[in-house]
Symmetry: C2
Subunit: 590 residues, 2 copies
């Protein structure tokens, strides 16, 4: 069996055997049982008919199995991407309308195209714009927002809003309309699911089950809730009491769908699709890497982009919506023993059989039950511990995180993630904007130079020696230029400034301009500028910019040589070990 190398499946499919198939089969059964209620629920969260959730859980899994690099990532509809889909599509049309469905299909197609382009042009680094605090804040805030958005199904009232404020106002307005049977049903389901998640597994363990089975059965909680409430709703005909049920789901497999070719619509959905792709990729790859490490496997980010991209294209062409790797589902897949992506193919077969044969079972499934599964699932996304750690670790990172959270809750998912990215970039620039610059002096009896504020060192009043502890680029060069110029001018005897470059790894054109400007300004003020201990690559950049020719002073190999040349009296004192001459710094620069 020969497969082309660009197909990721070529790495495992030729070696596939019966034993692996059995392991993958077990995992697929477990994941299918978990995925059925999830796919219905996330379709509802995305504002789509329930069968679309099933459609998005068939072909995308097969596409990922062929092109993705993770052996155990379980792809399909996930909560955050579904929320983002709903937010973007509801800007275009009302939920449930044909235009709305067309928009979600275009979102999947665009996400697929973006991810594949990122794979082909090796642009995965764009995802690095999403710093950990921003992603963490975004996921936490999305969890809260999703839970709030599901209150409408739990309370039986028509809430609307893209952010917490609008949802809150809508809830306040509809408080008198709360539908009691729905509330009781939804509330019970929610409490039950929380109990399953928290206390059912310990109970099963106490009952003597192995940890593996206890874990699996407790993960099946949502299925139990679905079965129980569906039976209840069907037997008591709760739909006639006003409890919203899923209703008829057309059975059958998805047909081939051609996304609507409306360029204006594609343009409007481009930014949301980009954000869905990036967030989905970042989340998927971190799950995939965590699981891969446990078996000493590795993930290829470009292959992963290709896998997720083709999965989204497959979703679009079968009438689905954006999909990505789900965290809890992938962990279940891994724990249940999945060995290869064939487990995903088997899961797809399971979901396809469900779509063909079992849709009749979900007619009486109350929407409140699906909402309860969503609420319980997403509240685990809310990660206050990271918020606390980040506060403790760095105020700058915490600020970016809070801006993201406030942005998502106050304005919506897109505005929030954009605000987060922009603020983390701005805060990073602000941080590198203040390079650490230390005035240095000679450690007596050595050729070493140290910070004058921390060590007893020799300095010459005519010479200002500075060590720059940062690579120089446009965001920090102006301040550095001013800082050195001001420090040199504050000490009237200064004749030479020597900058030690041991910690400068690279420069950009702005940095060169800044150093040349500093050189000119110091020269105008009668002060000569020198450098010492410039690294090879930086020296190459100096030469390309013709800096050595324009420099008023010299570039010394070592700082000690510079001092020998410019302040021999300092070195001579040194030779005499005239330690009484040690001078305190005049104008320390920190």
């Amino acid at each position: 069996m020969r497969l082309p190398g660009w197909l990721a499946a070529s790495q495992w499919l030729p070696l596939y055997n019966r034993q692996t198939a059995a392991q993958d089969g077990v995992a697929a059964v477990v994941v299918t049982i978990m995925l059925i209620p999830q796919s219905l629920a996330y379709a509802m969260l995305a504002g789509l008919p329930p069968q679309v959730g099933l459609y998005a859980s068939i072909l995308p899994l097969v596409a990922y199995a062929l092109f993705g690099s993770s052996r155990t990532l379980a792809v399909g509809p996930v909560a955050v991407a579904s929320l983002m889909t709903a937010a973007a599509a509801s800007e275009i049309a009302a939920a449930g309308t044909p235009e709305y469905i067309a928009s979600t299909i275009i979102l999947a197609a665009l996400s697929g195209a973006i991810l594949i382009l990122m794979a082909l042009f090796k642009l995965g680094w764009i995802a690095n714009l999403l710093s950990h605090p921003v992603v963490s804040g975004f996921i936490t805030a999305s969890g809260i927002l999703i839970a709030a958005s599901q209150l409408k199904h739990l309370l039986g009232v028509p809430l609307s809003g893209r952010n917490l404020y609008e949802l809150g106002a809508s809830l306040y307005h509809h408080l008198p309309d709360i539908h009691l049977p729905t509330l009781i049903l939804g509330g019970t389901a929610t409490v039950f699911l929380f109990w399953v998640r928290r206390s059912f597994k310990p109970l099963l363990l106490k009952m003597g089950l192995t940890p593996f089975w206890a874990d699996l059965i407790s993960k099946a909680g949502p299925v139990l809730a679905v079965l129980a409430t569906t039976l209840l709703a069907a037997s008591l005909r709760l739909d006639q009491q006003g409890v919203d049920i899923v209703g008829d789901i057309p059975s059958g497999l998805p047909g081939f769908i051609m996304p609507a070719m409306d360029t204006e619509l594609w343009r409007q959905l481009l930014v949301p699709a980009l954000l869905i792709s990036l967030i989905g990729f970042v989340e998927s790859i971190s799950v995939a890497q965590t699981l891969a490490a446990k078996r000493r496997q590795r993930i290829n980010p470009d292959q992963e982009l290709m896998g997720l991209g083709t999965a989204n294209l497959a979703s679009a062409f079968s009438g689905g919506f954006p999909v990505t790797g789900g965290f809890s589902r992938s962990v279940v897949n891994f724990d249940a023993g999945a060995q290869t992506p064939m487990a995903g193919v088997f899961t797809a077969v399971g979901i396809a059989l469900t779509a063909l044969l079992l849709t009749g079972l979900f007619v009486f499934l109350p929407k409140a039950t699906l909402a309860a599964t969503i609420v319980v699932a997403v509240l685990s996304l809310v990660d206050l511990a990271t918020l606390k750690h980040t506060w403790h670790f760095s105020r700058l990172d915490f600020t970016a995180m809070i801006i993201t959270i406030v942005g998502v809750l106050g304005w919506g998912v897109e505005a929030g993630v954009m605000a987060g990215v922009i603020s983390s970039l701005a805060l990073y620039l602000w941080r590198t904007n203040q390079p650490h610059v230390a005035e240095i002096g000679l450690v007596p009896g050595t050729e070493h130079f140290r910070n004058v504020q921390r060590h007893a060192v020799k300095v010459s009043p005519r010479i200002m020696s500075m060590r720059i502890d940062e690579s120089l680029y446009f965001a920090n060069i102006r301040r550095l230029e001013d800082q050195i110029y001001d420090a040199a001018l504050q000490r009237p005897q200064t004749e030479h400034v020597v900058l030690m470059g041991t910690a400068i790894n690279h420069l950009d054109a702005s940095a060169i301009d800044g150093l040349l400007s500093l050189n000119r300004r110091l020269a105008d003020a009668g002060i000569t500028l020198h450098f010492s201990e410039i690294k090879g690559p930086v020296m190459d950049q100096f030469k390309r910019a013709a800096l050595p020719e324009q420099l008023s002073g010299k570039i010394y190999l070592t700082h000690y040589q510079a001092m020998q040349d410019l302040a021999p009296e300092c070195i001579k004192q040194q030779d005499r070990q005239d330690e009484e001459d040690l001078q305190p710094p005049h104008t320390p620069v920190s």
Copy 2:
């Protein structure tokens, strides 16, 4: 005489004497003569009546004198800010309409407010987002765009367009309508002004004038052109031939104007005002610093923001438009001997007298002459040499520059500067995204470690020693994490990874998360992670994030100690000086 300390004038006004006043007076006369045609021309460029240019050259100069920190910066209307003003206001209303004028006043008020807020909250670093290549590309492209926009006055045809493409299309459309008398007058004025700029000063020097006077007289070229063409237009009544003239200018001083309180309009103009402020600040401060250095003075960026901010507020309240420090005007002011900002106050008096008494002189001034002065002034902004240097120096910086230039010429000033800022940030992230990581080994007979690819060093197959040559943050940590993980797994014997941190200056929360994730992934794969030679501040960050407790390995003070502990056989070989054992690297990491 006691002045409060927050007034920058408190540093020079109490010491003011008759001699300084005389020097400032001479400079003010020269600058006034230069500023009169410029203020009329830049008002025309901004799409405003000529008297507005005069208004913007009175109170703003007084405000800057009181609050600015440069002794010699000449503030007033400048070409680039006028172009940006026209671009922003013409999005709101047609040039010359009351709404248009209201918009330019709001732009000045907003710029003033933004600059003052930046001063109060010490936000001058935001201007660092504008890298040198972006600013240089922006100024060059603006010069071309301004020259193109003035063709309408030089050719006597009604061109319109925000970018080169629209202007070109409009010109093509209007080619048959070119007004010959206007073209002859404008063309002659342009050629004359180019000649003055290039050849008049050498001629004057040859005629025996001192360089000082030759320079001053050649700078008065525009005044000569204004006088000659005004006399010509008046005597031949060229206006009756269809040559556009400035016409009646209402004489008198500006009244107090309250900017229109239209929140929607303020909101629309916020981004343009921000860009005008930032570009104006960056340009001003670089001129101010260059001039200050020549007299061993210094510029306080925050004070400079305050000076420019109050100047713009003063402009708004007297019916003007955005102002900033002008390059050529400041140089003239400096060369003419200005000692203090009082020269600016004297210049303001000169312009005020002009507005009161001399407006009648400009009735017959042809607009083509003003256009010629603009074209000649702005073509000196076009800086192809920097384009060439930047190409030579760095392809990344060149890319940002070209994106800015193409953006400005193809879409307009705002889109261009935004594209430039975004691309320079993206390119910077792309650069730091690939941290240099070197596998290192022990230099025989020493305790030093060097890159295995460049030096003959000892390595142990069980231990992978890596030196990371970059501070770690969100944009590079994911790649670094993968790089180290993959390198460690490629060599099956690897038991320990030791990361040497001599070049890591700081970390952010994403970097800590990445290192912890690397630690977990390596541990899952059976490999222990250690660090060595971590700097003090980074060690503090490790501790705050509880990294040492979670680390599978240890943090060693020196890399040599790590090797003694983990691979004593390597060190023993060392002791025996068993140089034959030198091993080539297995999987070098570059």
